[in-house]
Amino acid sequence: METSFALTGKGYVIVAADTTAARSIVKMKDDQDKIKELGSHLLMAYSGEPGDTIQFAEYVERNIRLYQIRNLYPLRPSAAASWIRRSLAESLRSRNAYTVNLLIGGYDLADHKPTLYWIDYLGTVVEVPFAAHGYGSYFALSLLDRWAIALTRGRPRRHTDILLRYHNPEATLEEGLATLKRCINEVSKRLIVSPDRYKVKVVDKDGVREVEL
């Protein structure tokens, strides 16, 4: 089943999505890239209804590009997320709505902050430290929550807590990728229809790039 994750760390956002394209019970493809590079510092992972996803993602990609051509500067991640949200919200109340769920990860060159937006097909946006879509979200979100819960309860920070601290907004890229691996492993272990390959992309001050896990 389609699954995508994203998490923020110190100066970067990691976005990961599975690479399977399935029709019914048949796997048609296992190397599909479901993360679009919308700009030099903006990533968008998309999932949902097969036809809608590509159509909508390309629509977004072209419009974001058009903005940059017209204005000579790109939309900031927050502005891009707002525009995309509005497109989905308007589509929701049209005759045939796009059924597309998105994760927008970007690095804002104006305030030097990595930002991540969770957007669903209804047009609900929320800025979050980590996010997931699909069945994988049931496993990944609880896993990434462990850190937040340990903090809320005011648990003393011990060395062993590093093992418990699955999400850390101050983590280095290596630590962030390790956390992502934990999410992927958890999904592989517990989800019946788990994807076996993921594409992982990172955005930071130097722009977007693909990384191998």
């Binding site: 949200r85 669903d120 209804l122 047009g123 609900t124 946006v125 979100l141």
Partner: protein
């Protein structure tokens, strides 16, 4: 909730799809915020409209954002054209007619308005109102509630609220009401915010709430 020369508005902070919590801190707007959940994807947020006027928008997440953007646009246009701040009563009717425009395909939001309205004498009068999703206004004199925990909020508010509470007492009353109601609602909670609007300032506090 209405107090003596003050009003309070409060909300929880959860954003979730049914039983799955997505965010406990839906923050985008300067100063203040949001809250919680219902049929498919819901939250409620409390937004400042003017210095003495706040609106809470509990319901479907996408409509919370859409409506807030519409109200922000219409209030800005009003302020520019009229060269004065909008009154709580006027704003309430603006919200109501916006909702009624979509009578047969509504926004899934039940707004709550709280503010201090100016009297001709120059004094300030507490004002609260709530609406259903098609804009039917309830001008209450005591308190209004909305959202997935509305029946629970009614029960506690009915028991705790009394007339002419001072700002600090009103804060305690609205906080206890909200916290105890959302603790019995599976779709609400995950933090809370309270704003007490008084003559000369707005007291905004984030409450320590159960996170389970």
């Amino acid at each position: 909730m209405v107090g003596k020369d003050c009003v309070a508005i409060a909300s929880d902070l959860r954003l979730g799809t049914q039983a799955l919590g997505i965010s406990s801190n839906f923050q985008r707007v300067p100063v203040s915020h949001f809250s919680r959940v219902c049929p498919s994807l819901t939250i409620c947020q409390v937004f400042p409209i003017t210095d003495r006027l706040y609106v809470g928008l509990p319901g479907l997440g996408t409509d919370v954002t859409t409506l807030y953007e519409r109200f922000r646009y219409r209030v800005n246009m009003y302020t520019i054209k009229e060269e004065r701040e909008i009154h709580p009563e006027t704003f309430t009717h603006m919200v109501s007619s916006t909702l009624y425009e979509h009578r047969f395909g509504p926004y899934f939001i039940e707004p709550v308005v709280a503010g201090l309205s100016k009297l001709p004498t120059g004094g300030l009068k507490p004002f609260i109102a709530a609406m259903d999703l098609i804009g039917c206004i309830n001008f209450a004199k005591d308190f209004v509630v909305a959202g997935t925990a509305s029946s629970k909020l009614y029960g506690v508010a009915e028991g705790l609220w009394e007339p002419d509470l001072e700002p600090e007492d009103l804060f305690e009353t609205i906080s206890q009401t909200l916290l105890n109601a959302v603790d019995r609602d599976a779709f609400s909670g995950w933090g809370a915010v309270v704003h007490v609007i008084t003559k000369d300032r707005v007291i905004s506090r984030t409450l320590k709430a159960r996170m389970d």
